[in-house]
Symmetry: C2
DNA sequence: GTGAAAGCGCTAACAA
DNA sequence: TTGTTAGCGCTTTCAC
């Protein structure tokens, strides 16, 4: 099979049909001012010659690429894939193609992706920050270029940024309250990486719930996690169990970490949830695979993705300013065996 | 913030420096025939004006986009994300950007993505087929355009197609042999969607292992799965347990299905692995989270992704034909509690 | 070491 | 309803 045969362009179609290239262009774009007969003719020949429009040329000329750039920290677990799915669904019905990029939790990659997307002249950028992002210059660059920028889940504390988040504070507050309601008195928290809004709000929800119920907030019961992985949760739990009085509940900012903690608790011969209740965050599918099933918080990933696209579409319309509009989704606490006391392992 | 300020182009740089646009272009591309002094000058102004090259224009003119299209069935679970990661790593070091697309197991979406990628003039396409793909015309179209096409994991039975797969036959054969070695005599198989090479080879490995060890191949012990989800595995297992003599082992083509099966087995009050051993395929992270831990087969996703990019790079060089080169990775059977007899649930 | 000029394939005024 | 024309921003000969 021969390689790189020069691909047919609208010029070829124009010549073979004895029409002008503009008519061809209009026909292919289904413009209203071209006769149906011509359209049919053009479409048939296009089909026959296996013509494929060059969107690079179209985008270059028109200034709109119909491309949406999406940057996620990773696609492990089920949350970000769900968001991506929501984004793709709505974007494609709105006529946009989606470019998915992973930052792998590295600011450097995030910056590279921003640059690449800007070079590719995407019509908008949707981002969930990496955990190592403390400087936001690359995001400002996007806005300075007049490119709509929407955050989801992890967003910076910047003035007038648009974004969709789940109410992490509320999720954490309700979850912690539930643990207290189950009789837990020494509730530990495995917190996410610092500087992340989700970390901040989940921690705050935990803290405020304790205080609201008359329990002390003890910093020794808060252990930071370097990432959302299982190993970190296990290490943090070991650290907690090494203390003189061990906690009677653990609320981890991530389901993976919660599983790690749960495994360590059981290794130490402690009963879950009777001696130590465990809860996570994200409602990963594996929360119902493990025994005991893990209590968690549903973040509605797909909805979040759709909301992000809606924000983007709004931004596209307005030509003047950035509104800083935010959408806050309501989380749903999923109570399962790992935190339900007075009930066995199912 | 004002929107859509006209972005600076090499013309602006040329004017402000009193140079020609070709010199600017060469300087930015670090061509060898531009003086270091000029390069420095150009780069400084570019930085200062926040200049961002327009890759649409560059690609249009040069004919190469440095973009790689990747189509995966989905990014649930850990396997495809791992492959994608491998692809991204190697591609980016080779100077390519990656566009990830999900077919969501629908041929229609797959075709749309192929079309979009071709329109965007990607330099190559890497695909893992959707489970509903029976017609391969859209793949032929890619090759006809002279665009390198590489498959991974799921590939069509087409002459001269390039691709990377794991040796599914071997994985299934070894896994089934292991089950037989544990004393299992009636081993059921939950097979993937038909028409998929992986389904075919996993089933064949299962079958041949039985025969090689003098066990009968019984079609009633083979139940098809509509997809890789948990529910399908559960339904299939219920069907098997409804038979007069239940199996003493189940080998599912997917880990998710295996978990579904495992849950149903336990619901029926049967012991795993003593009464029914269970094994899956893919070595998902949750295989070590559940109890008993699930025996599975590691497919080396990241390696597969890297190999796919290597094949692509080879294809880029040769200007004549498609070689149909294939890379077959060796799978690794991970034996865990769910199939280890004479040992408890850990 | 630098410049002039010709496009890549398409869209979008403006004409006819 | 269709044609003419001027670019979009860049790369790439070919000159000098």
């Amino acid at each position: 099979m021969a390689k790189a045969p020069k691909r047919t362009s609208i010029i070829d179609l124009a010549e073979q049909l004895g029409l002008s290239i503009s008519t061809i262009s209009r026909a292919l774009n289904n413009a209203s001012d071209v006769s149906e007969a011509t359209k049919a003719q053009v479409r048939e020949l296009a089909e026959q010659l296996n013509y494929q429009p060059n969107s690079l040329a179209a985008s270059l000329r028109s200034g709109r690429s119909h491309m949406l750039g999406v940057i996620v920290p990773h696609i492990n677990g089920a949350f970000f894939p769900a968001v991506v799915h929501g984004i793709e669904r709505l974007a494609s019905t709105a006529g946009f193609n989606v470019m998915i990029c992973q930052s792998s939790e590295e600011v450097g990659r995030e910056q590279q992706h921003i640059t690449a997307l800007l070079k590719a002249r995407v019509d908008g950028v949707l981002v969930s920050m990496s955990s190592t992002t403390h400087d936001f210059a690359h995001f400002e660059q996007v806005r300075r270029k007049g490119v709509p920028l929407v955050f989801f889940d992890r967003m910076p504390e910047l003035p007038a940024v648009c974004g969709v988040v789940v109410d992490d504070y509320r999720g954490a507050y309700e979850l912690t309250s539930h643990l207290i309601g189950q009789g837990c008195q020494r509730i530990a928290h495995l917190a996410g990486p610092p500087h992340l809004n989700i970390t901040f709000h989940r921690h705050r929800g935990y803290r405020e719930a304790l205080l609201a119920h008359g329990l002390p907030y003890d910093e020794r019961l808060v252990v930071p996690l370097p990432n959302s992985r299982l190993e970190g949760g296990a290490a943090a739990m070991r650290q907690l169990l090494a203390q003189s009085r061990h906690p009677d509940a653990v609320f981890a900012a991530y389901d993976f970490a919660a599983i790690g903690a749960l495994q360590v608790v059981e290794e130490h011969g402690l009963q879950v949830p009777q001696q130590v209740a465990v809860a996570g965050f994200s409602n990963e599918p594996f929360t119902t695979m493990v025994r005991p099933q893990l209590t968690s918080v549903n973040q509605h990933g797909e909805l979040m993705g759709e909301a992000a696209v809606q924000l983007f579409l709004q931004l596209l319309k307005r030509t003047d300013t950035f509104t800083g509009q935010r959408i806050v989704l309501k989380p749903k606490v999923m109570i399962r065996e790992s935190s339900r006391r007075g009930q066995g392992r199912g």
